[in-house]
């Protein structure tokens, strides 16, 4: 069943089971994104993710399907994180999820690359990290990133390019054979 069909079932009959399918389908992307934003604070990220889905349930009638459902969810998640950060300044501001995340055993060179790339990513501005996260880890298009973060498209491209410009020299000496 597609997202649109599940959403229709939720709207027509408040179908909790259909919404549960949507949650199971999208929980990984939302929780990954929030773990990135909260610098790997899994408990806080999961709390915010839960709030995100409850908010999505309440506002589902407002979903206009001009973008994928996942993009809409990530936008809500980003808003929740921003609100939480405003209310509670102890929420980490600087995302650093890439370095903390390496749960899958990788071949040694790739694992080394993840490590070095994670370290290099931590030196970037938070906006650059977030743009790169959404682009490469979540696989979003530039337009979708702009929608999630409520940034102009040009700003997204600028942050992505700046991030890559900074990464390039940091990884220039990287060689998997050494």
């Amino acid at each position: 069943m597609t997202d649109a069909e599940l959403i229709a079932r939720v709207l027509v009959s408040d179908d909790h089971a259909a919404f549960g399918d949507l949650v199971r389908r999208h929980q990984s992307a939302v929780r990954h994104f929030l773990r990135h934003l909260t610098a790997g604070d899994t408990a806080l990220a999961d709390d915010l993710a839960q709030d995100t889905f409850v908010q999505a349930w309440r506002g589902l009638a407002g979903f206009r399907a001009t973008a994928p459902f996942s993009t809409w969810l990530l936008g809500i998640a980003h808003n929740h994180w921003r609100n939480a950060r405003r209310k509670q300044r102890t929420v980490p501001v600087e995302p650093g999820h890439l370095a903390a995340l390496d749960p899958v055993p990788s071949p040694a060179p790739l694992s080394d690359l993840r490590h070095d790339l994670g370290r290099a990513m931590r030196s970037l501005a938070p906006e650059e990290q977030t743009a790169l996260h959404l682009c490469y880890q979540q696989g979003l298009s530039h337009t979708e990133i702009a929608e999630v973060l409520a940034w102009p498209l040009g700003t997204v491209k600028t942050h992505l390019n700046r991030g890559k410009d900074k990464l390039r020299p940091l990884l220039a000496s990287w060689n998997p054979t050494t």
């Binding site: 709207l11 929980q27 839960q50 790739l110 790339l117």
Partner: protein
């Protein structure tokens, strides 16, 4: 994801893009009961008869309007009924032109829209 055509990028960019794609792909997070916690936190389901209640309200309004119209047409001769109805409608429209009344109606309609804006898609379709 743009740009997809890696061949159009400078060699440095091709390598960086390849590294970013190869080393940052996220493995799916196991659910670990997360979905169940979300479902538990949701507000209780709306009563199943809510759609029927809306239909009932619509049917009641139509019936009431019909009865009122029949009353207007049913008394006296039909021409007089039509004239009365026309007078009533014109008088009502004239009241709408009074700024205060128009503002009150506008506020009422706006409030109703704001209160039910997230529910309009659930109204029965014709």
């Amino acid at each position: 994801m743009e740009p997809n055509d890696l061949n159009s990028l400078p060699p440095d960019d091709v390598q960086l893009e390849a590294w970013l794609r190869a080393s940052t792909t996220l493995p799916p997070l196991p659910d670990d009961g997360f979905s169940q916690r979300v479902l538990t936190a949701l507000p209780p389901p709306a009563r199943e008869d809510s759609v029927w209640r809306r239909w009932f309200c619509v049917a009641g309004a139509l019936t009431g309007g019909g009865v009122a119209a029949l009353g207007a047409f049913g008394s006296g001769n039909q021409t007089a009924g039509l004239a009365d109805l026309q007078d009533t409608i014109l008088a009502t429209l004239a009241q709408l032109s009074v700024p205060g009344f128009g503002l009150a109606v506008g506020i009422t309609v706006g409030s109703l829209w704001f209160a039910f804006r997230d529910r309009w898609r659930l109204l029965p379709r014709w």
